[in-house]
């Protein structure tokens, strides 16, 4: 790779967000939408893609403008940029499908305050070039979508007995006699599922660390 030894390679930047530095499971960012929209898989998907779009667009713009923005108005400027793109997404979705727009509730607009976006703008895009920022944004966006889906699948399957409900591809997994656990699509279910998934994530990471340590010793 022609990259200088300045930091992680582009591939690392890209893939980090998927799992190793997953914004939800590792950095605990963007928990609000993670909890709020994950009661059906399709919502997760739409939310993930919208967030990805905003992340990438704002990443591009902010990394381009990073040298012109004074430190004091940094946050305000970033927010303006982000809010612009969110509003754009909002109108785009409305013009594509009103049904999808309705199913996401207010949370499209709340992408503005998703800490992932401002967090990446602050921590990455304002310090890196356009190319790397885009890679990071795509990686983080996909990581976010993966995390949303991790929750969404569990919540929808247990809470409704289906996958991809409200879409033409709806699959009923357990047949009509399934008793849905309505708690799963309610707020407490969101907290529980994320809590338990974090628990497994921690366990998995600890085990990996322990193994790495054991290997290093051997």
């Amino acid at each position: 790779m022609s990259m200088e030894k300045k930091g992680p390679s582009s591939w690392d930047v890209f893939f980090a967000g998927f799992w190793r530095d997953n914004p939800v499971f590792v950095m605990l960012l963007g928990t609000c939408p993670t909890l709020a929209v994950t009661n059906s898989v399709i919502n997760c998907f739409a939310m993930g893609v919208s967030t990805l779009f905003v992340l990438v667009m704002s990443g591009i713009l902010i990394s381009m403008l990073r040298n012109f923005i004074p430190k004091q108005v940094r946050i305000a400027s970033f927010i303006v940029v982000i809010a612009t793109f969110v509003t754009i997404v909002d109108y785009l979705i409305q013009s594509i499908s009103l049904d999808l727009y309705d199913s996401l509730g207010a949370f499209i607009q709340l992408i503005v305050v998703n800490c992932i976006i401002l967090g990446r703008a602050e921590a990455f895009a304002s310090r890196n070039g356009v190319m790397r920022s885009v890679l990071d944004a795509i990686g983080m966006g996909i990581g976010f979508t993966i995390a949303l889906l991790c929750l969404g699948v569990v919540r929808e399957v247990l809470g409704n007995g289906t996958l991809l409900m409200n879409t033409p591809y709806e699959i009923s997994l357990f047949g009509p006699r399934f008793e849905p656990w309505s708690v799963m699509i309610l707020p407490p279910g969101g907290f529980f599922v994320l809590g338990v998934e974090l628990l497994f994530f921690n366990w998995w990471r600890k085990r990996k660390e322990a193994r790495a340590l054991a290997q290093a010793k051997a």
């Binding site: 357990f174 399934f178 008793e179 656990w181 309505s182 708690v183 407490p188 529980f192 628990l199």
Partner: protein, 361 residues
């Protein structure tokens, strides 16, 4: 040099201790629950028996498994988890499908107790969390009631009891079963409601007669019906100094006063305070759930406030909320605020001028 062969023991003072230990206390609580359980089996039959056995076994098994996973020595011998299992069983409707009971047990014990570090560290009463989880997850089966003393209750199970795991409980079949059974006993008509929901959802509020409430010949959760027995068993624990009497006292008083105030304002719409006290799970909640030591405040004043708070919230939820019964949620809320109550009511230390400890600047 005679004693030198066996070295002296050294240890920190005090060198004597009271004999009552944690397993003793928990064992007696379980013991005090047994008459209530027996009455439940007597009024609701085989299904109730199976339900109680299932929850107890499932709770014990969950705790044991959790200990194995955490590589700790098992803690099932301290009886606390048996108490949890019994309480959970006693708060469920008799027709609860067993698979739901198992799910509630697993959820309650693993999430509320094991994850928090086991006995003594749980912030909430595990049985209650299991119950609330089931209530929210499966609202319909958990608000489907069975009348007590059904003919044939000892010869057959209720149709929903053995529902296949994860499948819907057939409440229609249950209603048919009940109607048939009642008809064979010469009774027609069954509203399918507890005294509380009859009051709340009926067109014209219907108040159950107090003696029936007191004696337990009403529909309700397995263990909540026989008020007299619950009081007796609670008094046993209080007499053995294994329960803080202030909690049930505060809770009953809180519920009594608040519902009394409402009752005085409109006697036709609001139920009498005695109805409030004896209906639903208030008595059972006061004596066996709110009084759970682990999740209640530690100071005498705090315990009164805690009881009072739960009693009042129960009444508020019952009267204004969407649900007919609020004891469970009220106690959970009480559990949630109990650390705050404890720290706010810590009495003045001997010889100390009271400081502002709540918010330090």
């Amino acid at each position: 040099m005679s004693t030198e062969a066996r070295p002296l023991i050294i240890g920190s003072s005090p060198h004597i201790r009271v004999k009552q230990s944690v397993p003793d206390i928990m064992f007696h609580v379980a013991l005090a629950l047994l008459p209530v359980a027996a009455f439940a089996v007597w009024s609701f039959g085989l299904s109730a028996l199976l339900l109680l056995l299932t929850t107890t076994a499932a709770c014990v098994a969950t705790e044991h498994t959790a200990c194995l996973i955490a590589r700790r020595s098992t803690t099932i011998r301290d009886w606390s988890v048996v108490v949890t299992g019994l309480i959970l069983g006693l708060t469920l409707p008799p027709s609860t499908p067993l698979w739901m009971a198992v799910l509630g047990s697993i959820f309650g014990v693993s999430v509320t107790k094991s994850l928090f570090g086991g006995l003594g560290y749980n912030c909430f009463n595990p049985a209650l969390v299991g119950r609330a989880f089931l209530q929210i997850a499966f609202p319909i089966p958990l608000t489907t009631w069975t009348p007590p003393d059904l003919p044939g209750r000892f010869s057959s199970l209720l149709p929903t009891t053995l529902t296949f795991p994860f499948l819907r409980a057939d409440t229609a079949a249950l209603a048919d079963y009940i109607r048939t059974a009642l008809a064979s006993g010469g009774v027609d008509g069954w509203s399918g409601a507890t005294p509380l929901s009859m009051w709340k959802f009926a067109e014209v509020p219907q108040f159950e007669s107090l003696p029936r409430l007191f004696l337990g010949s009403i529909a309700g959760s397995t263990g909540e019906t026989a008020t007299w027995l619950i009081i007796l068993c609670g008094l046993y624990l209080i007499a053995r100094n294994m329960m803080n009497w202030r909690i049930p006292a505060g809770m009953l008083l809180g519920a009594f006063l608040l519902s009394g105030a409402f009752w005085l304002s409109d006697k036709t719409h609001y139920p009498s305070p005695m109805f409030m006290l004896f209906s639903g799970g208030l008595m059972f909640g006061a004596l066996f759930m709110a009084s759970d030591m682990v999740a209640s405040p530690m100071t005498s004043a705090g315990v009164w406030i805690y009881g009072f708070f739960i009693g009042m919230v129960t009444v508020i939820i019952r009267i204004f909320g969407a649900l007919p019964e609020g004891v469970m949620f009220a106690i959970l809320l009480g559990n949630a605020v109990s650390p705050l109550i404890t720290s706010a009511t810590q009495p003045r230390t001997y010889g100390l001028v009271r400081q502002k400890r709540w918010i330090k600047q």
